[in-house]
Symmetry: C2
Subunit: 459 residues, 2 copies
């Protein structure tokens, strides 16, 4: 049960199911509870959420096998359609092992999950039937299983009613709130993204950097993603399960696979405007960083040593927000919009750096500010640059040499990501999603954006 | 002492130097002994070898430091020359740490190693003196040391006298047979190469695949490499230690560094003809694989799945010899010099595969044979190719899909490595050095080459 008062408003009753104390009950009080307890989630039931969707009527056998074969494309990912059914074939690591998803056909309504008892020999025989005139001589089965495809998603991923208000205390992640087939290869990825989305927000709230209302954005953001995954998986499974005569163009499946490639890469999700995702008035200043989508990295030159590196590889999973300042045309040391912005950022009482950095923290403890110049790295001397970009941090107060980048020759991030030559400020969330794009002059908007979800630290 | 008879002809007398049994002696009898016992090697002394060269008279301080500084190139590798001396500056991993080698000047003849007691503060002061007008504010020293540069090499790396005959039983590796300064950054690399060279040869002899005479090639190959390293290091140290007025062209040092880049990359060594390195009559068939030098990898297409991979990355440190058959122009299944060669290799009683593979071993247990076709990977069907290139190995007799490659479009290894369109056979040693280049028709020479250093297995 979830109460409304005290530091630990959630009460969880647990029962030992094994060991000496089996049957005994125990009560735990918590600030927050995350239900990562799988498809039959007890947490989901306890908060009375609806799990929507049914077991569908198609069964698949799956096995990881070592074989000898005359099938020439054995080491290539294939979707195989024949009059006897379908196989999705995925070569695995190591040069020998392959995973096969084998179509076992429709499941009768009164089957009562008996299809799950299908013996391995039947699955192998079915695979050979589908592969005919080719065949496989199975030498070893490393793992196998039979499953029915079910597509289900929970109506909301926290304990606040659909039409209710307030800040949630209980959350659902992974299989507890979305189940589907394995063939899109996205179940683990999307579930880990659930976890990361939840974790950084809990971190911000529990360390006193953000208000409790931040937690509302978890279900708001992740429930639509799960729905999208399930739609994608259903479409993919349907395409796979067709008979040859239903296929007009053999290229169609390949086209669908390529057309949705952003999905398995994790780049299809786009969060909508909220307290942590801005609106797109200034999207034109950085077309290559769509607001609400994953920050798409690009190569830049580190100004301190001229090495080429991916800008995104400098972001760590440390719960910090990142502000990328793309400079306008003047170089370091010259009067510029960037120079004005940097002065404002380090000095103004309105600056998010000044307002939201704890008194006892490094200047980059909450907001990690980096700059990318349009010049080549040879033209940038870090010892003369605005100190907000070369902060002195850590126990020794050492200069940080790795926050200043150059677009340089070769790959130019300004071209690659369509960034305005008048500069731009790109704000990226702790989970690598682009939160906002603003002009260098829009200091008021930048301050207002952070004030929506970060608490003032120096009062 | 090394005897001439029995399975364990080497007798080693050891004395406990600590613990309960301190002072007690113990005798060990061995087939072979490797002296990896450092600069003051007892093994070297026991076999009466000469260690040639003296302690030279130049001292260096070395330290790994965290600093704040106004020196703008702090994160770049620099050779710094000033009137007060020289610094070799090498930024290290992690973005902050740097290693500095600081010139402490000439050491008086009667110094008796007192320079090694130079305090850290003196080394830091010297660094600042050299760096002036820049300076460093040292916040932390992770490690430091002072050393004098000594260049010494042992006359031979085994127990056979310079003008003697017979098969060696005792070997020296690493600092036991070559010492030098740390600045070329090659001491560990060359020493590990010593170890690898020795290890694969011991492996071949101890498993009965090669005769004991193979062990003569260890000192023959590695002693000249050590001599070359020491010459390189002496030249490099001398260049570094010059005064500004001795330097005509500041670019000279950079030129030397770049001109000898093959050395630190490990590609400069070239072994001379021996029982395991062929002569160069047919070098013209594969100019890009110089006999005696490291096999320089190149991208190819795996025929089984079309993936681009480095050919060299398929070689493992498993003690096997590798034979790369570069096909002539006809494709798989057509009459060709390659097809004749493959038939000879799998069937002829003269074939090294037939002669040198143990009866109970996989067909690729000693010789790992791979083929590279000139065609694109789409034109190659592994299920119809000569089985010598798709062997069935391991406990399940599984088809090996990863020994057939295609030159394909894009990077073409035939062009990149100047390989004859009439084909070529490139033999590579277990330590990745190119051993031989032969035409596909030179079966007799190929058989004779392996007969020099591999024993017949099926008599």
């Amino acid at each position: 049960t979830v109460g409304q008062e005290g530091d630990y408003p959630v009460e969880v009753t647990l029962r030992y199911v094994a060991g000496e104390r089996a049957g005994e009950e125990r009560t735990v009080r918590a600030k927050y509870v995350a239900g990562c307890d799988g498809a039959r989630s007890g947490v989901r039931e306890a908060i009375g959420r609806q799990h929507i969707g049914g077991i569908s009527a198609h069964a698949w056998g799956v096995m990881d096998v070592l074989v000898n074969t005359d099938f020439p494309d054995w080491r290539i990912k294939c979707a195989i359609n024949s009059t006897h059914g379908n196989i999705l074939h995925i070569p695995r690591e190591g040069g020998y092992l392959s995973r096969m998803y084998i179509d076992l056909g429709e499941v009768p309504e009164d089957d009562d999950h008996r299809v799950r008892q299908t013996p391995l020999e039947t699955v192998i025989a079915k695979a050979n039937e589908i592969l005919h005139p080719y065949s496989i001589d199975v030498k070893e089965v490393a793992w196998h299983s039979v499953y029915e495809v079910g597509h289900r998603v929970t109506d909301k991923f926290d304990d606040i009613p659909l039409d209710g208000e307030g800040n949630p205390r209980v959350f659902l992640t992974g299989d507890a709130c979305h189940t589907h087939s394995a063939k899109a290869g996205q179940g683990m990825n999307v579930s880990m993204q659930d976890g990361f989305n939840l974790a950084w927000k809990l971190g911000m709230v529990l360390t006193g950097r953000s208000p409790e209302s931040l937690m509302c954005t978890y279900s708001d953001e992740r429930q639509p993603v799960a729905q999208q995954l399930i739609d994608f998986d259903r479409e993919w499974s349907t395409l796979m399960a067709r008979k040859p005569e239903e296929i007009e163009d053999p290229q169609e499946l390949a086209n669908y696979y390529l057309g949705t490639a952003e999905f398995p890469s994790g780049f299809m999700t786009q969060y909508t405007p909220s307290m942590i995702t801005g609106t797109d008035e200034h999207q034109g200043l950085a077309e290559g960083f769509p607001i609400g989508k994953r920050f798409k990295s690009c190569e830049v030159f580190k100004a301190c040593d001229g090495n080429v590196q991916h800008l995104g590889h400098h972001a760590r999973a440390d719960g910090r927000w990142r502000i990328y300042a793309f400079a306008d045309a003047p170089g370091p040391g010259e009067a510029s919009a960037l120079a004005d912005w940097a002065t404002w950022l380090s000095e103004s009482p309105e600056s998010p750096l000044v307002r939201h950095t704890p008194a006892d923290g490094d200047i980059d403890a909450v907001l990690d500010v980096k700059v990318i110049y349009q010049q080549g790295f040879e033209d940038i001397d870090l010892t003369t640059i605005d100190p907000v970009f070369v902060p002195r941090t850590g126990p020794y107060g050492l200069m940080d040499w790795e926050k200043v980048y150059a677009a340089g020759n070769g790959t130019d991030i300004f071209d690659e990501r369509s960034i305005s030559r008048d500069g731009a400020v790109v704000v990226v969330r702790p989970d690598q999603y682009v939160a906002h794009v603003l002009p260098l002059t829009a200091t008021e908007e930048l301050a207002a954006f952070f004030a929506q979800h970060l608490l003032p630290q120096k009062i």
